[in-house]
């Protein structure tokens, strides 16, 4: 595990973060601070810049200007160190269907340099955490949709990352599977993980997130705690994202 520099309790900090694709500004001077242990929601309509921000924070895309620090490491200069401390749970299940859940976990453990007994122990713990301990040696292709989503989560946890990115994790899930997943996310939060979550569901953001940022046209349109915003998150979302012009960022007292 990479040694983390002092972060003043801040897990992720972006300063004037900008990403330009040709004439399009996917991220426009984004300034965010996400605290350690916080469950932070990123909301916004399609094309708002959530995915770009997500990709920058996970070192997949380099910013055009500004900087992003994850765990105190610069995502551009220290990409390898950032990769060691983050885990990602993509929207689509990212697992090899021709392998068993166990084999999938071991493959990704070894790619993170976690080997032998440590990897096996960790795989067993994670399978237990999502109630897959009895099915760990079955091929993933035989799993139900809910089981695959649970595996998808623990694949991002195999190297015990401090910061977790969840990309619209409940899209397309039935209510039972969604509730199960929320519970897992809460368990992870209780374990002290910093979680960044993108979602389209206001109810999900309100139920899970400590704070949310609403993005529109690459800018932060609103930022704050959903419980302390005064209005419903849905109302704020429509107010800040409707119309051609972006409403000025609405700082809500946390």
């Amino acid at each position: 595990m990479a040694e983390r520099p002092p972060t003043d309790g801040i897990a992720i900090r972006t300063t004037n973060l900008t990403k330009r694709y040709g004439n399009t500004l996917a991220c426009d001077n984004v300034n965010l601070e996400i605290r350690r242990g916080e469950l932070f929601g990123l909301l916004g309509p399609n094309g708002a810049g959530k995915t770009t921000l997500f990709n920058i924070l996970s070192t997949q895309v380099k910013p055009s200007a500004g900087q992003a620090l994850v765990g105190g490491f610069n995502v551009t200069r220290d990409a390898k160190k950032v990769k060691q401390i983050i885990g990602i749970v993509p929207q689509d299940v990212a697992a090899y269907e021709k392998l068993t859940a166990w084999e999938n976990l071991i493959v990704f453990a070894e790619l993170y340099n976690v080997h032998g007994r440590t990897a096996y122990q960790r795989a067993n713990e994670l399978l237990r955490m999502v109630s897959l301990q009895g099915r760990g040696h079955e091929l993933v292709k035989n799993y139900s949709g809910g089981m695959k989503h649970r595996l998808n989560i623990i694949l991002g946890l195999i190297h015990d990352p401090q910061i977790l990115y969840f990309d619209e994790p409940t899209t397309g899930l039935d209510p039972i599977a969604r509730t199960e997943l929320w519970e897992i996310i809460r368990v992870l939060k209780r374990a002290g993980k910093t979680i960044v979550l993108t979602t389209h569901y206001m109810q999900e953001a309100e139920a899970l997130c400590d704070r949310v940022a609403i993005l529109n046209q690459g800018k932060v349109a609103a930022l704050g705690s959903p419980k302390k915003m005064g209005k419903s998150l849905e109302e704020i979302f429509f107010t800040t994202t409707s119309g051609d012009s972006v409403a000025p960022a609405r700082q809500v007292r946390a």
């Binding site: 983050i86 993509p90 090899y96 990704f108």
Partner: protein, 466 residues
């Protein structure tokens, strides 16, 4: 090591995917086996219908080729029936031809049109008369089934070969008899005391001039005798050279074919490098593209992208496992065709052959990376690989020489890497190519592999960003 983890993972994926296992490992061996079997030496003879019109008279017409100057001395008996049943005596013909005798021209045409025979040979009435006389040629009519051009050409070559051999046999016999006649004219057998021959006549006249009473012969008579002696000497000289004259007139040209480099080759020898090339490109292209696309299909690139594993390690793992499969497969095929007692494939320059296999594998992997960059799923990439491989099969000189193709097609062939693989492997396996002889195919394969890898990687990155 991360690359080992990825290779092990890809190996498991291939072993557990019936589709990949069949198309990558089993199918090429089956297809190479089928091609090899199809192009091994033919064990069925070409069926040919034969009509002997002499038999229309009810009995075979038998005649004799005689000494043209001494017909009373007998000669070589000949009949069309003998020719037809004697063709089996022509060396090697039995291996290729299977004769079906018919009674009428209609029967022969029926057999030809129904596809039961591939050629119909008609010996006309009076064929034997023409063979035995020294005035004209005997004509055979040959009708070939043209419904299949390639088969028709091969049959025509075979029939022409048979006629040529037949012709040579009769030339041999007729020339022999003519020379025998000339020899007899020059020096008749001892028993023929009345006809001393040209040489004997000249010797008798010369003996006459040696006698004492010859001195009394008038001078103008002596001059005549001298002239006759000179004439006979000239005839002797011409007849002494006649065997060469007759030989060169009857057979002005004789072809003698010799094998170069590896000696005599069979169709199967040409097919081995082609089959190896086909297997390399099929497996290399498909394995690489399938494994790349499988990664995308499993949405794993993003997850892999945030591990400390570099992208080049991921690509290298695919290259490593694909190379292992291709090498294993190619060496297996090479070993089988080299050791198999019926095949005993030539490998003149083994190190160069190996180098060409490596470069071809590189080119095929490059093509696979390119296809992987443009395909969305494994089924799509298999379809795309088939679409790319299919034209290569016909244009890359696997079964038909590139040099025989029209200029445009030759140009097209130069764009396909399989053309260089086949050319290179045929050179190194059959023609004793040295390293410097194979520079063009090696350079072309390397360049193709490099170009495709670069373009494919760029396309792949674009595809993942979408």
């Amino acid at each position: 090591m991360r690359i080992v983890t990825l290779i092990k993972k890809d190996g498991r994926v291939i072993l557990r995917s019936r589709l990949l296992l069949t198309t990558l490992v089993v199918y090429p061996i089956i297809i190479v086996g089928i091609i090899g079997y199809a192009f091994s030496e033919p064990n069925t003879r070409v069926p040919i219908a034969v009509l002997n019109k002499d038999l229309e008279n009810g009995k075979p017409d038998v005649d004799t080729i005689k000494n043209p100057l001494h017909p009373e001395q007998g000669g070589v008996p000949v009949s069309t029936d003998h020719i037809i049943h004697g063709v089996g005596l022509i060396p090697g013909l039995d291996e290729f031809a299977e004769l079906h005798e018919v009674r009428t021209e209609e029967d022969g045409r029926d057999l030809l049109l129904s596809g039961q025979v591939q050629a119909f040979i008609i010996f006309p009435l009076g064929f034997v008369d023409r063979i035995v006389n020294y005035q004209e040629s005997a004509v055979i009519r040959v009708i070939v089934d043209q419904s299949d051009v390639v088969r028709a050409n091969l049959t025509e070559i075979l029939v022409r070969g048979v006629v040529q051999q037949l012709q040579e046999r009769y030339i041999e016999q007729k020339v022999g008899l003519v020379l025998e006649g000339i020899g007899t004219a020059l020096d008749p057998p001892l028993s023929s005391a009345l006809y001393p021959g040209f040489r004997g006549s000249r010797e008798r006249l010369e003996n006459l001039t040696q006698r004492a009473e010859y001195a009394d012969v008038p001078a103008d008579h002596k001059d005549n005798v001298t002239l006759v002696i000179e004439f006979l000497r000239e005839v002797e000289r011409v007849l002494d050279d006649s065997s060469g004259i007759v030989e060169s007139v009857a057979r002005p040209v004789r072809a003698r074919t010799e094998g170069e480099k590896s000696g005599h080759l069979y169709v199967r020898d040409l097919i081995v490098p082609a089959a190896l090339g086909l297997s390399i490109f099929w497996t290399g292209t498909l394995a690489t593209s399938s494994l790349m696309v499988y990664e995308r299909e499993a949405h794993a690139y993003r997850r892999l992208g945030i591990t400390p594993t570099s992208r080049s390690t991921v690509v290298l793992s695919k290259v490593a496992i694909t190379s292992a499969i291709v090498f294993g497969q190619t060496l297996f095929i090479l070993l089988v065709v080299t050791l198999h007692p019926q095949w005993k494939a030539h490998v003149d320059n083994f190190p160069l052959t190996l180098l060409l296999i490596i470069l071809s594998t590189f080119a095929s992997i490059g093509l696979g990376i390119f296809l992987g960059g443009v395909s969305r799923d494994v089924n799509g990439t298999i379809l795309l690989a088939v679409l790319v491989t299919f034209p290569m099969l016909f244009v890359s000189g696997l079964f038909y020489p590139v040099s025989f193709m029209p200029e445009g097609a030759q140009l097209l062939a130069r764009l396909f890497p399989l053309t260089y693989t086949v050319e290179g492997l045929r050179g190194s396996m059959l023609r004793g190519f040295l390293f410097e002889d194979a520079l063009v195919p090696m350079f072309a394969l390397f360049l193709f592999g490099l170009g495709m890898t670069v373009v494919g990687t760029m396309l792949s990155r674009l595809s993942e960003r979408r």
